[in-house]
Amino acid sequence: MTDDPIAELSDVARTYGGVAVLEDVSLSVPPGVTAVIGPNGSGKSTLLGVLAGAVEPTDGGARYVGPDADRPIGYLPQRVPFREEFTARETLAFYARLAGGDPDDALARVGLSDAADRRVGALSGGMRRLLGIAQATVGDPPLVVLDEPTSGLDPGMRERAFGTAVDASGTDTAVVVSSHDLDLVDRHADRVAILDRGRVAAAGLRERLCSERGVGDVAGLYRAVVAGDAPDARSDDTDGDEPSAVHVTGVSER
């Protein structure tokens, strides 16, 4: 797996009604799974929206620097948005026609083959999310951005949805996923970016961040960074021996 970035955010800021939601966020996204975690209202969805091109930043910008692709970025917003009158297969067929691919293969990838002819409106919340993940990977985009794909799901379905998302990552593919499920992040994420009040409070390789803060898992890391339980809660990841794949401008300024 290379550390060459697939996408970069540079000094990104976003305000809504004059209220800052993101401030001075710089981040590079290499291949693998990057989990974005943080409290409610910390700017996770806005960050992912900027990365996916769905949200226009008020300052700074997002840049895709990955390999050439017809569809460079796949995106699933927090609320799965598909038209309810279409079946799962029809929904993916529409997207497959735009980006190439086979809707049945995409359904099989997320285990929804048996629900192919069910209307989106009749799918459970978990199945909708799986359909959304399938959509985000149509056309094999090198960068897949998933906003809380496990939100509101039971434990089994959370594991399945997150696992499916992780499966989309590879040596040349990056998956950026936001989640409140720190256990899943701990098990699956290669890198973690922690947002707090619109700024990146810590970012880097998961194991190294945990090691630096003397915590055993991502839940401990979260408590250390966001709640300030650890003595070195706001240290800059880029100070480590190993060059970080995630450069965080905002961290050193705090």
């Binding site: 809504y16 996916a52 598909f82 038209r83 029809e90 067929a93 529409f94 026609r97 735009l98 691919g101």
Partner: protein, 294 residues
């Protein structure tokens, strides 16, 4: 959309968006009710005006005023949420990660809605034409367009003029759907646009005449608004054929240009709004940031 089925190849994005939108329209039973309601209104209007036996041109005269209201109304019903649906649900943000341009997306949606609109509007009018054909006096069967003679061809011309008239309003309705940020907002803007479109042109014309504009300018002024342009073209090409008018009803070239202009203008507003709406929002945020906080 079952017919889309399994695909490995890529077809034109506009056609793909078009098929999806058309499938959505076909699964909306309300549009069938709209067409039925339109047929009832038109049939009632025809009956009040003397029924189909009076002939095609008298039927057009009876239907003209109602048409100037119901066609724009139908256009707004079909189009006021055309682009809002995906924007409101968040699916537009997803679609924009695919290789389809904003212009292509708008084109696909508008083409499908136009086809649906034509079916909703033209079918009831065609049925009314059939009623006139079946019940009119014998001389209405003459296929002629010369002065003093009633003819089905004149009614066909009327049907033909419904297309650019309805397209202009559908394009405006689509623009409303692109500009509005919510369904309630779209309804409010659509009602305003509908009232302005149906009454605004004539009121502006009256005001212009009251302020000293010579009557000779009426044909040109009338052509500017969609309703005036459509009415003028109907008088020029359908009703006026049956008698010898003293002068021109409307500047035909300007009327055609106006209907085309309203149509293109609506499409441009729709496309620009989707393509640059977020950036405009960001500009407002920038202005707000520079204002001193209270």
């Amino acid at each position: 959309m079952r017919g889309i089925g399994k695909t490995g190849d890529r077809t034109a994005p506009v056609a793909t968006v078009f098929r999806r939108e058309l499938a959505t329209v076909l699964r909306t039973p309300g549009y069938g009710v709209l067409a039925l309601g339109l047929f009832v209104v038109l049939g009632g209007t025809l009956a009040v005006g003397g029924g189909g036996r009076t002939g095609f041109v008298p039927a057009v005269v009876d239907l003209l005023s109602v048409t100037e209201v119901v066609v724009p109304l139908a256009a707004f019903v079909v189009g006021y949420r055309a682009l809002l649906v995906d924007a409101e649900s968040g699916e537009l943000a997803v679609i924009r990660t695919y290789p389809v341009s904003v212009a292509g997306y708008v084109a696909g949606v508008v083409l499908a809605r136009t086809l649906a609109f034509l079916a909703i509007v033209v079918v009831p009018y065609a049925l009314i034409g059939g009623v006139v054909w079946a019940t009119a006096a014998p001389d209405t069967g003459i296929f002629a367009t010369h002065s003093g003679v009633d003819s089905p061809l004149l009614y066909l011309r009327f049907l033909g003029l419904l297309v650019p008239f309805g397209a202009a309003y559908l394009s405006l309705a689509t623009a409303v759907s692109a500009v509005a940020s919510s369904r309630r907002g779209a309804v409010a803007i659509a009602v305003l646009a509908l009232v302005a479109g149906v009454l605004g042109g004539d009121l502006a014309l009256l005001r212009s005449l009251a302020s000293g504009t010579p009557p000779s300018a009426i044909p040109g002024l009338l052509a500017s608004a969609p309703n005036g342009a459509f009415r003028g073209l109907v008088f020029e090409g359908v009703i006026g054929v049956s008698f010898a008018p003293a002068g021109e009803f409307v500047d035909v070239g300007r009327a055609v240009g106006a209907l085309l202009g309203w149509t293109v203008g609506g499409l441009v507003v729709s496309t620009m709004s989707l393509a640059y709406g977020d950036r405009i929002g960001v500009l407002f945020e920038g202005v707000r940031a520079r204002l001193p906080s209270p």
